[in-house]
C-alpha cells in the first residue's frame, strides 16, 4: 500500500467512512485518523450537525474532509454516494463500513419482524451493497481497502440481541466471502470484531443513560477507545500484501465477558 504523499501527477487520495456520528465514536475516530495521513475523508452519516463536528475536528487538525448525508436506504442511494465521490476525481483508497441499526435489547418473542428487517437492511444489506459498489470502483486501480466494523454479536448470538446478532453475523459472512474473492485482485477486505463496549457517544447515551453507568463500571480503559480502534483500522489499511488480515478482534485488556 502506498502511503507517500500524493504527488502533483497523481490524483488526491481519499477515504470514505460510512456510519459517522460524533467525533467520539468509531466512525468519527477513523475519519480523523485517515485524514491525519493526508487522505481527503468523506464522512458519511445521517445527521448534518454531527458530520460537521467531525469535519471541523479534522480541519482543525490540519486534515481535509467533506460531509455527505446519506441514509443508505436502498441500492440507488448507496450507488449515488459512490457516484458523487467518483465525480470529485479523487482516488478512493479506503472505504469503512461502520453503519448499524440501533442496537437495543429485545426479548425474542416480542421482537417485531420490522425490527429484524430494519436491522438487516442497514447493518447487513446496505453494507453488502456498499462493499460491492466500493470494490467495483477500486478494481480498475488494482488496490484498495474495505473495512467492516463487526461486533461480539457477529460471532455469537445471545438473548436480547437476536436481531442485531443475526444481521451482524450475516454481514460478516458476506464480508469474509468477498475478502477471499477479491484479495487476488489487490483489494484488501477486513472484518473487525469490536469485542467489548466502546467508550463513545453512542454507548454513553444508550438505554437512557444506563450506557454511561455501564462504562463507569468497566473502569479506566475498560471500554474500547474509538481512537485506539481507529489506529488498528489504519494499520490494516497499510498492511503489506504478503500478510493481509481478513479478520481481527479488538477487546479491552480487562474485559471479562
Amino acid at each position: 500500500m502506498n502511503t507517500s504523499p500524493a504527488s502533483a501527477h497523481r490524483p488526491e487520495r481519499c477515504a470514505v467512512v460510512i456510519g459517522v456520528g460524533s467525533r467520539a465514536g468509531i466512525g468519527g475516530a477513523v475519519a480523523y485518523r485517515f485524514a491525519q495521513e493526508g487522505l481527503h475523508v468523506y464522512v458519511v452519516g445521517r445527521t448534518a450537525a454531527k458530520l460537521q463536528e467531525v469535519v471541523d475536528a479534522i480541519r482543525a487538525g490540519g486534515g481535509r474532509a467533506s460531509a455527505l448525508i446519506n441514509e443508505l436506504r436502498d441500492e440507488d442511494e448507496i450507488k449515488a454516494l459512490f457516484a458523487r465521490v467518483a465525480a470529485e476525481g479523487r482516488q478512493m483508497e479506503a472505504v469503512i463500513y461502520n453503519a448499524a441499526y440501533l442496537n437495543m435489547p429485545r426479548r425474542f418473542l416480542s421482537t417485531p419482524p420490522a425490527f429484524v428487517e430494519g436491522n438487516w437492511r442497514l447493518t447487513c444489506l446496505a453494507g453488502i451493497v456498499a462493499g460491492q459498489v466500493a470494490v467495483r470502483q477500486m478494481l480498475p486501480q488494482g488496490h484498495g481497502t474495505l473495512i467492516y466494523t463487526g461486533a461480539t454479536a457477529s460471532l455469537r448470538g445471545k438473548p436480547l440481541f437476536a436481531a442485531f446478532a443475526s444481521a451482524k453475523a450475516a454481514l460478516r459472512a458476506f464480508a469474509l466471502t468477498l475478502a477471499r474473492e477479491c484479495a487476488p485482485q489487490g483489494i484488501h477486505i477486513a472484518h473487525v470484531v469490536i469485542d467489548g463496549a466502546v467508550a463513545g457517544d453512542r454507548t454513553k447515551t444508550a438505554l437512557f443513560g444506563l450506557g454511561r453507568a455501564a462504562l463507569l463500571v468497566k473502569g479506566e480503559q475498560g471500554a474500547l477507545l474509538p481512537d485506539a480502534i481507529a489506529e488498528t483500522y489504519w494499520q490494516l489499511h497499510v498492511q503489506p500484501r504478503g500478510a493481509w488480515t481478513h479478520e481481527l478482534d479488538l477487546r479491552p485488556f480487562k474485559e471479562k465477558f
Binding site: F108, P113, L125, P159, K168, A169, A173, R180
Partner: protein, 224 residues
Amino acid sequence: MNTARKCAVVFGVDNTADMAAAIALRAGRGGLHVHVVGSRQEPLNDVAAAIQRSGGRATAMALDAGDRRQVEAFFQRLDSEGYQPVLVAHGGGGPNAQAALETAVAEVEAQWRRLCFAGFLIGQAAIPRMLTFQQGTLLFLGHASSLVPQIGTAAVAAAGAGLRAFAQSMAREFGPKNIHVAHVVLHGAGHGTGHLPSDAVAEACWQLHGQHKSAWTHELDLRP
C-alpha cells in the same frame, strides 16, 4: 391432562429426496404426526403420502415461510386442531454458486427471507406453543458456509450465518425453559446432489430430538 396430539413440523420440503423430506419421514416413523411444509404443494403431497404408506400420519401444507401472516396462521391452525408441535425443523437448501461481487441485491434478499427471516418467524411462532407444554425441539439446518466463508456462496452464507445467530440466541434464551434449539451444519449438501445421505442426516436430527436436557447439543456438524 394433556390431550394434545404430538406432532412434528418440517419446513422447507421441496422434493421427495431432500433433507427436509428425510427428516419428515424419520419423524413419521418415530410416531409423530408430521406436518410437511414447503412452497410447492406437489412434493409435499408426495412426501405425506410416503409417510402414510409406511404407516405414519402426515399432512401437507404449502405456504411461504418468509411471510409472517402465513406462518402464524399455520400455527394457529395447529392449535385449533389440537396439535402440540414437539419437533420443528427448518432450513437446508444448498449454496448457489455465485461470486460475491456479482450477487444481486434481490438474490441476497431472497436467500435471507427464505432461510434467515423465515427461521426467525418460525421460531417466534413455534416457541410460544412449545412453552405452553414446556417442551420442544427446534432444529435449524445450515451449511458449511454458515460458519466458514467459501468462495461462491456469499448470499446463502450471509443468510445461513444470520440463521445460525438466531438459533444461538433462541437456544440461550429458551434452553432454561426446556426448549431445545440446535443448529445442524451440513457439509457437502447441495441441492439434493450432495454426498451427505439425507436419511443419515434425518437420523442425526431425530437423535438430537431425543437428547436428554442435561446434555443438549446446540450445534452439530455432519459430514460424509
